[in-house]
Symmetry: C2
Subunit: 600 residues, 2 copies
């Protein structure tokens, strides 16, 4: 590509993957020994190419021409299927799976970078692939050999697609309250009855079959989340030879019409309502995954991956919006800087206005910071998977656990804000559908909601992840942040100055989190969890920027100078936001608890 | 209405108008002597009723079924015209105009409250009325008697509609660069040629005629904004007897398709391109308003009114979103508070979760704070209009000048954020078009852009309004804020505590603004104007909340208890944001200026 892509920056990806995360060193590990920088680059190249040529072109069209409910099934925009076929052809659906399972044994960090291209080009079309991969990965981890053979193989080949069926109309955030039932049959199968809500990719004609992973309760089990089991419920039953059998009783009940993310059909599904009677019996046929009543833990295997994936999607939307607003700011002229007094002088490019540069620096700091964060999490997954030392594995798992709600929420908040700034730079044009940025903003607004809202992530971080094992999670995070501080301090000069500012923030984070953990009343302890999540996210991303500042070194090229400047921006404009937030947390503010609902 | 409205809160309006702003006292002034609380209430009642019954019902439909370009003209959703006729029937189009001009001589503050009902119900349909009123008010102030008779009267009767034609494709924020020309003719008329962009209400079939107010340059005038003149350019010429004459050469060139605000058609208009030749001559016929080359000053008369109007619209959208999310939070159950250990316990209402209450308090503080701010500005206009003392008039004008960019931008930012929180409270449902809040969020996103972007307002506040006459504007603002501090301090108790916190913020605002004003390099001085605007806005709204705290007194009713709690929220969660912003301003941060465009 002669002109730089407006989806992502490959030079930035290279900087993050090779200069900062040193992923070349992964190839010395047995799992990745077949790989090299050349194979990584080759897969990145092909993903960038397919994203640009097959995904981006229909992004606007599949937004304008939504999925439709026709004759009991979903009709998708016709450009979606061929794009997904092209993606399947790259092997990306099983990128990180073992080669024995039909995968490429690609590092997660490389997969994350590849995925970002597709998400930036067309997150709605890519969602079908993401869901299928997540479904397959869950079954690879928890399914039987038979289940892997029957369901996973065709998914990795792009013939079957996958969904996740968790929510119900009355139970979104609160999975404890699901009512879908699974009745055991003598042959070891189950019959599922219930209604699932918000099912992305719940119906379509993209492939031969749809593999629903469904949370349901087996009668007689414990109440709440401890009674949840996980089932494979295919749209069509599959015979032992792999040929498609009878229609299962999974029926499309309706479509949800969303503000954005419109190309991804989002459905209400009825299970076992009687439209079909497979084998002459009522109920949708379901196959238990793993042991009964362990469904939530299994789903969280997928969910943690999906949560980082949501953050990565938010980053990708933020990133492409940033590049488009940057392109606009370079080419559009308007007004003159305050120091120009001559109305007859030629107008300036937008980028010459300080406030436009502020909005570009903010976007850059959010999207490049967010990308670095999600790639770091990908690298952690790879390190975890290849760690041989038990203690090290424990440390890595803990760190990944703590970072997951941040990697989900921080980009969902700030890369959405980046899209807001991208619109603002475009002025009135950005508010029109003739430009791309309004769609990115609409698409990105989903990310603070799905896979656990901000509020849910916040309780997860403050109430569980950082508190685990008497604060071991918090200490794992602290130790990584302090290592960054120490390295920067040794570097001296400006790096040492940034280190000092980060150290102050880390100290406050640890001090305040510890203080809040010590509060005995759980309602008070968690009352300001969202404020804690926001503040912690900003401290973590400040560390990410310090890391990038260090990785950029003193080199004079524009990319590295830009990294240093974005770090300065983040430390100057963004990091100081955390202090009023920590002050609020430190005083265990009870304003929300003390508000009588009648006062609204 | 038996059930409380989900558009606005009438009890809140009554509290603000009567308890806080004491608008009853206005009726002692000659201009408003015909009015009483009864007449105010009557007009508020009828506006609330028409807004609820004629505007709200088609809000979703006119969003989904956008205006269409058919045979060279715009077709609007059919429910728009009868709604506007109902509005015209209330007399609201000329509400604040003199009775001699066909108006009601209603105080601006009451008109603002009435307008908020319509904007909350359907801002897109209301926009046609707003534009017509603004157009009429400008001509009442600057037009000749003949122009008032010919154009204003039919607008106030709802027979003609008005537009404002400022922007061009190459000139949005920078009006200095407009190229539309106005050639004088011997008969005193002008012939206009050029293309105008972003013209809301630029074409439709709502009434008999459309009165465009067009900025253009008369050849030979000074360069830049000093060479801009203002013209009336009607769609149809009008004969001396008021009957509709020949078609003028104003031609619809295209429609802009927006993310939101879709019911308001937004157009590109060609003037004098030759589609029509009124009187057999080329060019659109235009009538000069006031003196040549004074067009921008006249337009700013309208613009200042329109800017507060934009803020009021943002408030209205925020307010209705708040009430809808409050209603949802009271009725929707989900999960249990952290202190509940029993999974079999009945789920809690959303409003019982601390994080939901945080999002409700935030919205309440933004929308009630914003409403109070724009009503305060309305009251200032009334005071200004009826002031008899020159010094007092000067003080009021200065204060209104300083508050205008804040009243425009603060609600545009924070009431949009309120809509974001309203979506978040609804969870996945809020992201669908089955609920209202996603539309409010899309509609509200226009407000930080039109009538001068945030960046433009920021330069206006820091570079002009607060700096005027050696800082007289800043001192005018400071004196109002300090008066609030003094009153609260005398009240003692919690009020005195809030006063102390506000005083600290006001002190910092004045100190930092003065320091920035003293910077000699205009590029440095204005580099962080947007940060200054945000911080100043929060200090002003903190004062607004202190005022409401005081007006609420110690009364035990829920409304007043809610006011006190929202004030506590704003002082606890919101006001502290300003200190890092002031620190950044105080160090005259040059990060944006020092960023080489090549570094992005």
């Amino acid at each position: 590509m002669a002109t730089p892509s407006l989806l992502l920056s490959r030079p930035d990806l290279d900087f993050l993957l090779y200069d900062w995360l040193d992923i070349g060193s992964l190839t010395t590990r047995a799992r990745f020994a077949e790989h090299s920088r050349e194979t990584f680059d080759a897969v990145l190249d092909v993903c960038a190419e397919i994203a640009g040529e097959r995904f981006a072109p229909h992004n606007k069209r599949s937004d304008a021409e939504e999925p439709r409910f026709v004759d009991g099934r979903v009709e998708l925009h016709p450009e979606i299927a061929p794009a997904l076929q092209a993606l399947a052809g790259t092997g990306l659906l099983g990128a990180t799976a073992d080669e024995s399972a039909g995968g490429m044994a690609l590092p997660h960090v490389v997969h994350a970078a590849c995925s970002a291209w597709f998400a930036a080009a067309n997150i709605s079309t890519f969602a079908y692939a993401m869901l299928t991969t997540a479904n397959a990965n869950l079954l690879l981890a928890h399914g039987s050999e038979e289940q892997v053979r029957r369901w996973v193989q065709p998914m990795l080949e792009g013939r079957y697609h996958g969904t996740m069926c968790l929510s119900e109309t009355q139970a979104g955030s609160s999975l404890a309250d699901i009512t879908t039932r699974a009745e055991p049959r003598d042959d070891g199968t189950f019959r599922i009855t219930g209604t699932k809500m918000w099912i992305s990719g719940g119906d379509h004609g993209l492939g031969e079959n749809i593999v629903h992973l469904v949370l349901a309760k087996i009668p007689g089990g414990p109440p709440g989340v401890k009674g949840i089991s996980l089932f494979v419920v295919p749209k069509y039953l599959v015979d032992d030879d792999g040929s498609r059998g009878e229609r299962n009783d999974v029926v499309l009940a309706g479509l949800n019409h969303k503000m954005g993310y419109r190309g991804t059909t989002n459905t209400v599904l009825n299970f076992g309502e009687g439209a079909h009677t497979p084998g002459g019996e009522p109920g949708a046929v379901g196959y238990l995954v793993g042991a009964p009543h362990t469904g939530l833990a299994q789903m969280f295997h997928m969910m943690n991956e999906a949560r980082v994936g949501v953050g990565a999607g938010a980053v990708a939307l933020g990133y492409t919006g940033y590049l488009k607003s940057l392109d606009y700011a370079r080419t559009r002229t308007q007004g003159r800087p305050p120091s120009s007094k001559d109305p007859a002088a030629a107008p300036s490019a937008l980028i010459d206005h300080a406030d436009i540069r502020r909005m570009l620096l903010a976007q850059k700091s959010y999207v490049e910071g967010g990308l670095a964060l999600v790639l770091y999490c990908g690298r952690l997954v790879d390190d975890l998977r290849t760690a041989t030392d038990g203690e090290e594995r424990d440390r890595l798992a803990l760190l990944l656990d703590v970072l997951t709600p941040i990697a989900k929420s921080w980009p969902s908040q700030w890369c959405l804000h980046a899209n807001d700034l991208a619109i603002q730079i475009h002025g009135g044009y950005g508010y029109t559908r003739e430009y791309d940025v309004e769609q990115h903003y609409r698409d990105n607004r989903l990310n603070p909601i799905h896979e656990g809202t901000h509020g849910i992530q916040a309780i997860d971080l403050l109430g569980r992840k950082t508190a685990l094992r008497d604060g071991a999670g918090l200490r794992a995070l602290e130790s990584v942040l302090r290592r960054g501080v120490d390295t920067a301090r040794r570097r001296g000069g400006e790096a040492a100055d940034l280190a000092e500012r980060l150290e102050q923030a880390v100290g406050r984070l640890v001090e305040v989190t510890t203080l809040v953990h010590a509060e005995p009343d759980p309602d008070v302890r968690l009352a300001n969890a969202s404020v804690h999540l926001e503040a912690t996210g900003h401290v973590v991303v400040a560390w990410i920027w310090l890391e990038q500042f260090l990785a950029a070194g003193d080199a004079g090229d524009a990319l590295r100078a830009g990294k240093r400047q974005a770090a300065r921006y983040f430390f100057g404009y963004e990091l100081p936001r955390v202090y009023p937030q920590f002050d609020l947390l430190a005083r265990l503010d009870r304003t929300t608890l003390e508000t009588d609902p009648a006062w609204f």
